[in-house]
């Protein structure tokens, strides 16, 4: 097991390096002269040269990368070309907003997804099962920003109902329940659908296993067989999906934050793309990806731990 963890840790090193190279290259993949594009068309040559100087674009490329990485390791992601402030400062507060949003969305998706999936599996091939699975298919096929727009339209009219809720949250985005609940629903729905489908198929597979027949032959009730013997086994593969969904939410936050005007990493990224503030784009993409890599690492290890008994069996 320790060997697996060490191997898995070592595996993430090349991935992290790869991610950093890719993010670094973003600036250089821009067709044409990045400095010119950042400065805008028709900008005086002096300004362009200044930008080029500031971003170190005159250095040979490997030196540029090493400089960039040197900074990253020390927590320096460069400076915004618009505000001139360090990228780290721009990102810092927004990072927690996105993390919080993604966490709530994960909790919602896991809660609803598990419930729906279990009910569906227990009542498989009944009307309830079909209904849940059809709803899940819709959840899976809906653009989340569209759902968000509809929610805003349906609920944004009328008074604030639960204003105090927002105060409890550390990052303090949004100041009414709608601004917390609606984005979380918007972001979490697709994930809930995926988890529901996954839970259902995993449960159905487990229910056909020999040890479930053994449990029934012991004279245990259906309840005990389902919730004690089947569920515990069925949840193991669901763990991986939860990790992937969390990552998906970090990425999906781009759209959710945009429509709800939440000042998180996603909205920051979109704004930076529109103002061609590439250091910010690079910083935001790098931070989210590195976080995702570590989430996956944790998920893989916990899956391995949970699955140990089955794997070796």
């Amino acid at each position: 097991m320790t060997k697996y963890i060490i191997r898995r840790l070592l595996q993430t090193i090349p991935v992290l390096i790869g991610v950093s190279i890719l993010v670094f290259s973003l600036m250089h993949l821009i067709p044409g002269d990045p400095a010119q594009i950042i400065a805008g068309e028709g900008a005086p040559e002096k300004t362009v040269e200044q930008i080029r100087e500031r971003l170190g674009l005159n250095d040979p490329i490997h030196k540029q990368y090493l400089n960039y990485m040197g900074g990253v390791v020390q927590g320096d992601l460069g400076n915004s070309v618009r505000s001139g402030r360090p990228v780290v400062d721009e990102i810092k507060t927004r990072f927690w907003v996105t993390l919080e949003l993604a966490t709530y969305a994960t909790i919602l998706a896991v809660f609803i997804g598990l419930m729906a999936g279990i009910i569906s599996a227990v009542r498989h091939y009944t009307f309830t099962d079909t209904a849940i699975m059809i709803v899940a298919l819709f959840g899976l096929s809906m653009p989340n920003f569209w759902l968000g727009l509809l929610l805003i339209d349906w609920f944004a009219v009328g008074g604030d109902w639960l204003p105090a809720w927002a105060k409890l949250r550390p990052s303090g985005w949004g100041d009414s329940w709608r601004q917390v609940i609606l984005p979380v629903i918007t972001l979490g729905t697709g994930g809930a659908a995926i988890i529901a489908r996954m839970t259902r198929s995993s449960m159905l597979e487990v229910i056909s296993q020999d040890y479930i027949r053994t449990a029934r032959a012991k004279g245990l009730s259906d309840r005990v067989v389902t919730y004690r013997h089947a569920l515990k086994n069925a949840l193991i593969p669901v763990v991986t999906v939860v990790g992937l969904e969390f990552g998906g939410f970090l990425g999906g936050a781009v759209l959710t934050e945009t429509i709800f005007a939440i000042n998180g990493m996603g909205r920051l990224t979109v704004q930076a793309i529109n103002t061609r503030d590439f250091p910010i784009v690079q910083g935001a993409v790098l931070v989210i990806s590195v976080l995702f890599v570590f989430v996956n690492l944790i998920v893989d290890i916990s899956y391995k731990l949970l699955n140990k008994r089955i794997d070796l069996g």
Partner: protein, 341 residues
């Protein structure tokens, strides 16, 4: 014959699939005397496992018992409520399965899986149940049971796991143990050990055993009575000595002829030609008729009943009935049979 504890009469079980109704079990009758071992023998697909699952009503959701009776001490189990049935399973009637590797739940310890039955049926406390689990592991011959009780199935070998399954089955001193091919998945040496263990425990605890197997050798060694199954039906039922000395159904004769036997003055092995019919396309009349060397028009038209010889031995074959239209002496797989006794 001793008192009958389990009596299965004309059991019929069907599965409902996309291709239609599959009559997996279609007329199975046998009885289990108290304290004795009965073997149910047949090729794979003959319906012997489905028979055992039907007795405990553990069929998959697309399977249903459609007819017959299963009388346990006179009560028809098929009429029991699900709740009453649960009180019986693992308590009065226990079952062990073919695949010890996959029959234990991978996420619970051995001890948890044994004590669960005790807590359910005997209302024991967790602690008492765990202590009893250790005793049971000792009973089924597992060394250092105090350690094993805390282990997970993956830490045990196949033979060990089957012993654990037996411990679970015997936890509540059942009156009947149904063992569905308990040794098929195990090594030959382990097979003998497990069979020996079952026989030994049976004598000590005085329970009846229903042993399902495809292995006539195991039957000869272990059983008192035998029911031979073919294509979802019992074709012959008798005590084990009669079956091996004077097999009567052509299928049984064929089976024995196709086996190498060191005791008999056997010249060569005679195979049964043809294959087991598909349950979706059962032949009309006697199900064995397409493969039977003695088949007559009667056999091809009408399904024979299980005819009793008055001594408790039964056979599903026209040869032993007054209506038999053929010769008095019939040659079946090189064995000369006399039509009426």
């Amino acid at each position: 014959m001793a008192e009958t504890i389990l009596d299965v009469r004309d059991l019929r079980t069907s599965f409902y699939t996309d291709e239609g109704e599959v009559k997996a079990v279609d007329g199975v009758s046998f009885s289990v005397p108290k304290g004795k071992t009965i073997g149910i023998v047949g090729e794979s697909g003959s319906g012997k496992s489905i028979t055992s699952l039907s007795i405990l009503r553990l069929l998959a959701s697309n399977g249903k018992v459609v007819g017959g009776e299963v009388r346990f001490k006179g009560d028809n189990l098929l009429a029991y409520s699900e709740k009453k049935m649960r009180g019986l399973r693992g308590n009065k009637i226990s079952m062990i399965f073919q695949e010890p590797m996959t029959s234990l739940n991978p996420v619970f310890t051995v001890g948890q899986q044994i004590s669960e039955t005790l807590i359910e049926h005997q209302g024991m406390s967790k602690k008492a149940a765990m202590a009893k689990s250790v005793d049971l592991l000792k009973l089924v011959g597992i060394p250092s049971p105090e350690k094993r009780v805390k282990q997970y199935p993956y830490e045990l070998s196949g033979g060990m796991r089957q012993r654990v399954m037996i411990a679970i089955a015997l936890a509540c001193n059942p009156e009947i143990l149904i063992a569905d091919e308990p040794t098929t998945a195990l090594d030959v040496t382990i097979q003998a050990q497990i069979l020996g263990l079952i026989r030994d425990l049976q004598q000590r605890m005085g329970m009846s055993v229903v042993l399902i197997t495809h292995d006539l050798g195991v039957v000869a060694e272990t059983c008192d009575y035998v029911a031979v199954m073919y294509a979802g039906q019992v074709v012959e039922y008798s005590d084990v000595r009669t079956l091996f000395r004077k097999p009567r159904h052509p299928y049984t004769i064929g089976l024995l002829k196709s086996l190498p036997r060191p005791d008999a003055d056997q010249e060569k092995l005679v195979p049964i030609h043809g294959t087991v019919p598909s349950p979706l396309h059962m032949p009309v009349g006697c199900r064995f008729n397409p493969r039977c060397p003695a088949a007559t028009d009667l056999c091809r038209e009408q399904l024979p009943d299980l005819f009793d010889d008055g001594e408790g031995n039964q056979v599903r074959c026209w040869i032993y009935n007054e209506q038999w239209p053929g010769e008095k002496e019939v040659d079946v797989f090189g064995e000369e049979r006399i039509a009426r006794r």
